[in-house]
C-alpha cells in the first residue's frame, strides 16, 4: 500500500485545527472543532482502505482491483453519528445562550455543593 502525503497532511491539519477549536469555552467553536476533527477521522478511515473500481459484481475486469467498501460503510455510520452529536451541541449552545445570554459556558458557578461549603473542608 502506498501512502498519500497530501492526504496525510490534510488529516493532520484538520486534526490540529479541530482540537484547537475544541479547547474553547465557546460552544459554537467546540461544534466547529468537532466537525473538523470528525472529518479528519473520516478521511483517516477512507485512507485505511484500498482504492479501485466500484466494488460491484461484474464491474471489475480480470485483474482489476476493487475499492474496499468497508471503510466507506464505516464512514457513513460515523457521519450519521456526527450529525446526531452536532444537533445536540447546537441545541446545547442555543440553550446556553438562552440561560446566560453569552456564547460561552459560564466560568464558575453557583454549584450547590460549593456554595456555603464547609470552611474546614478545604475546597478551592
Amino acid at each position: 500500500m502506498t501512502s498519500n502525503l497530501v492526504l496525510a497532511l490534510t488529516i493532520g491539519g484538520l486534526f490540529a485545527c479541530g482540537i484547537y477549536l475544541m479547547l474553547s469555552r465557546n460552544l459554537i467553536r467546540v461544534l466547529l472543532g468537532f466537525l473538523l476533527a470528525g472529518h479528519a477521522v473520516n478521511l483517516l478511515l477512507l485512507a485505511s482502505g484500498t482504492g479501485g473500481v466500484p466494488p460491484i459484481v461484474g464491474q471489475a475486469k480480470d485483474g482489476e482491483a476493487m475499492a474496499d467498501p468497508i471503510p466507506q460503510a464505516l464512514i457513513l455510520t460515523s457521519i450519521v453519528i456526527g450529525l446526531a452529536v452536532s444537533t445536540f451541541l447546537l441545541a446545547m449552545a442555543y440553550r446556553n445562550y438562552q440561560v446566560t445570554r453569552e456564547p460561552e459556558i459560564p466560568e464558575e458557578l453557583e454549584d450547590s455543593e460549593y456554595a456555603g461549603s464547609d470552611p474546614s473542608g478545604g475546597d478551592e
Partner: protein
C-alpha cells in the same frame, strides 16, 4: 437460543421508540419502560445460565459469518456484566419514577417526555457494548450510550447542568474521536475490525505499530473509565446531574470503559503488555482519587472521587494479567457497580430529606431517618471494604493476586490498595458521622447568625438556635416519613443485591474466575466466533442475509 442476544439489544431500543411515541402519556411510559427492562433482565438471566452451561454464545447478525458481518458475542464476562447492569438500570428507573424526576416535578422546566426514551437508549448502548463482537460495533454502542448520557446529564437545561455537562461532553467527544481514529488505523494495519479475527491477525503486525494502536485504545477507554490522568472530568460533571442519572452513570458508564479495557487487553494484545504502565496508572488513580475525596465537602463530590479512586482497583487486576487478578477484578467491577449506585441513590434521598448534600449543613439524620441511615450505612461500609462484605472479598482477591505476582510494583500496589481502603473508610465515615450521627449543626446560615448577633448575645441566641435545630430536625423527620416508597424500595433492592454479592460470594467468585480463565485462554472466544455457524470456506459470504 442465540436469538436471545439481539433480543437483549432490541428490547430497550424498541421500548425507547414506543415511549417516545407515547410521550404524552406518562403512565404508559412508566409501564413500558419498567416492563421492558424487567423483560431484558429475564432474557439476560437466561443468557447467563446458557453461557455457563453451554459456553460462549455467538450470533451472526443477518447470517453473515464472522469476519464479514456484525457479530454479537456473549461469554461469561459479558453475560455477567449484562445482568448486573440491568439490575442497576431497573432499580434506578423505579427510583427515578417515584422521585418524580421522570414526571418533571423536580424542576418545572424539565421536559417530561424525554426521560424514559433517553434512559432506555442508554440501556441499549450499554447492552450493545457488552455484546459487541467487533470494534466498530463497540464504537457505535459507545456513541449510543454517550449521546443518551449527554441528554440525561443536562436534562432540564439549567445553567448549572449546562456548565457541568460541557466538560463531560467535550472530553467524551475527544475520546470518541481517538477511538475511531484507532479503529481506522487498526483496519489499515489488518483489514478487519472483528475482535476474534484481530486476535489472530494482530500478532503478524509489527510490534511497534501494535503498541501504538494499543496505546490509542487504552487512552480512549481510559478517558471513559476515568483512569487517573484522564479522570478530572468526572468529579466535575457528575454531582450536578439529577441523583438517578448520577447513580446510573456511576454504576454503568465507567464500567463499560473498564469492560472495554479488559476485552482488548485480553483478546487483542500480547498478554501483560503495558502492564507496568497500567499498574502505575492504577496506583495513581487510587491514591489521587481518594485524596480528592477527603478534601471535598459535599457528599456527591466525595462519592464521585471515591468512584474514580476505586477504578484503580479494577485496573490493578487487569494490569496483573493473571487469572486470579482478572477474576478478582471482574468481581470487583460487579461489586462496585452495585455499591456506588446504591450510595448515589442514598445521596439523592439525603438531599430530599435534608434539602442539601453539603456536609456542613446536615446532621442528625440517623434519628430523623433511620431507614435511610441503614440504607446508606451498608453500602458505605461495603465500599470501604469492611469485612465480611463484598468490597473486602474483592480487595482480598486482588491483593492475593498481587502477592502471587511477586513483582515489586505489584507489592507496592497491594500496599497502595490497602492504604486507599483505609482512606476510603475515613472519607466515608466522615460523611456518615456528620450527616447521620452528630446533632444538627448549629450555624445554619451565616446571615441568620449575623442577625442573631446583632440583636443580642447570650441566652436568647442559644434559645433561638435550639429552636431552630429542633425545627430542622422536625422538618427532616417529616420529609423522611414522606419519602416515596419507590425510592426507599429501589434503594433497598439494590443494597440487597449488593449484599447478595457477599452471601453468594462463593458461586459468584467461581463464575468470575471461570470468566477470567476463558479470557486468558483467548482461543475459547476466537473459536466460538470464527468456527461457529455454517461451516463455509474462507472468503465465502452468507446467503442473501435478510434480517
Amino acid at each position: 437460543m442465540n436469538w436471545l442476544l439481539p433480543l437483549a439489544v432490541i428490547l430497550p431500543l424498541a421500548g425507547a421508540g414506543v415511549t417516545l411515541v407515547a410521550s404524552r402519556r406518562p403512565r404508559v411510559q412508566r409501564v413500558i419502560s419498567v416492563g421492558v427492562l424487567a423483560t431484558q433482565l429475564l432474557v439476560e438471566l437466561i443468557m447467563l445460565l446458557q453461557v455457563t452451561a453451554n459456553g460462549t454464545m455467538v450470533m451472526h447478525v443477518g447470517g453473515w459469518t464472522a469476519p464479514f458481518g456484525i457479530t454479537l458475542v456473549a461469554d461469561e464476562l459479558a453475560a455477567f456484566m449484562l445482568v448486573v447492569s440491568t439490575i442497576v438500570a431497573l432499580t434506578v428507573l423505579v427510583y427515578a419514577i417515584s422521585q418524580g424526576m421522570a414526571d418533571g416535578s423536580e424542576t418545572p422546566e424539565t421536559p417530561v417526555s424525554i426521560f424514559h426514551p433517553t434512559f432506555l437508549i442508554l440501556a441499549t448502548g450499554v447492552t450493545n457494548a457488552f455484546l459487541a463482537g467487533d470494534l466498530f460495533n463497540l464504537f457505535v454502542s459507545f456513541e449510543i450510550l454517550l449521546t443518551a448520557s449527554y441528554v440525561l446529564l443536562t436534562i432540564g437545561g439549567t445553567r448549572e447542568r449546562l456548565r457541568a455537562g460541557a466538560p463531560y461532553i467535550v472530553v467524551s467527544l475527544l475520546s470518541s474521536l481517538i477511538f475511531l481514529a484507532a479503529i481506522a488505523m487498526i483496519y489499515a494495519a489488518t483489514g478487519t475490525v472483528n475482535m476474534a479475527d484481530l486476535s489472530v491477525k494482530l500478532p503478524q503486525v509489527a510490534p511497534g505499530i501494535v503498541a501504538t494502536l494499543q496505546a490509542m485504545l487504552l487512552v480512549a477507554f481510559g478517558v471513559k473509565a476515568a483512569v487517573f490522568p484522564m479522570s478530572a472530568w468526572l468529579p466535575d460533571s457528575y454531582p450536578s446531574a439529577p441523583a438517578p442519572a448520577t447513580a446510573v452513570f456511576a454504576g454503568l458508564l465507567t464500567k463499560v470503559g473498564i469492560y472495554a479495557i479488559i476485552r482488548v487487553q485480553t483478546l487483542l494484545f500480547p498478554p501483560g503488555s503495558f502492564g507496568t504502565l497500567l499498574m502505575i496508572a492504577a496506583l495513581l488513580t487510587m491514591l489521587v482519587g481518594i485524596l480528592g475525596a477527603i478534601a471535598q465537602s459535599g457528599i456527591k463530590r466525595i462519592l464521585s472521587f471515591t468512584l474514580v479512586s476505586h477504578i484503580g482497583y479494577m485496573l490493578f487486576g487487569i494490569a496483573l494479567a493473571s487469572e486470579t487478578g482478572l477474576g478478582a477484578s471482574i468481581y470487583y467491577v460487579a461489586h462496585h457497580i452495585l455499591v456506588q449506585a446504591a450510595l448515589f441513590l442514598g445521596a439523592g434521598m439525603i438531599e430530599r430529606v435534608a434539602g442539601t448534600t453539603v456536609l456542613a449543613r446536615i446532621g442528625g439524620l440517623a434519628a430523623a431517618a433511620p431507614v435511610l441511615a441503614i440504607l446508606f450505612f451498608i453500602p458505605a461500609m461495603n465500599l470501604a471494604g469492611v469485612p465480611p462484605l463484598s468490597g473486602f472479598l474483592g480487595k482480598v482477591g486482588l491483593f492475593e493476586a498481587g502477592v502471587q505476582d511477586g513483582r515489586v510494583l505489584a507489592l507496592i500496589l497491594v500496599a497502595g490498595g490497602a492504604l486507599t481502603s483505609l482512606l476510603t473508610l475515613y472519607a466515608i465515615v466522615r460523611v456518615w458521622g456528620r450527616a447521620f450521627w452528630r446533632p444538627v449543626p448549629e450555624v445554619i446560615d451565616p446571615e441568620d447568625e449575623r442577625d442573631a448577633l446583632q440583636t443580642e448575645s447570650g441566652r436568647p441566641l442559644a434559645v433561638r438556635r435550639r429552636a431552630q435545630q429542633e425545627a430542622q430536625r422536625r422538618v427532616a423527620s417529616e420529609e423522611a416519613a414522606r419519602l416515596p416508597v419507590g425510592m426507599v424500595g429501589a434503594t433497598t433492592a439494590i443494597v440487597a443485591v449488593g449484599l447478595l454479592m457477599t452471601f453468594a460470594a462463593g458461586p459468584i467468585y467461581a463464575l468470575t474466575d471461570q470468566a477470567a480463565a476463558n479470557l486468558m485462554n483467548r482461543s475459547v472466544y476466537v473459536d466460538a466466533v470464527l468456527n461457529s455457524g455454517v461451516p463455509s470456506p474462507p472468503g465465502a459470504t452468507g446467503e442473501d442475509g435478510g434480517p
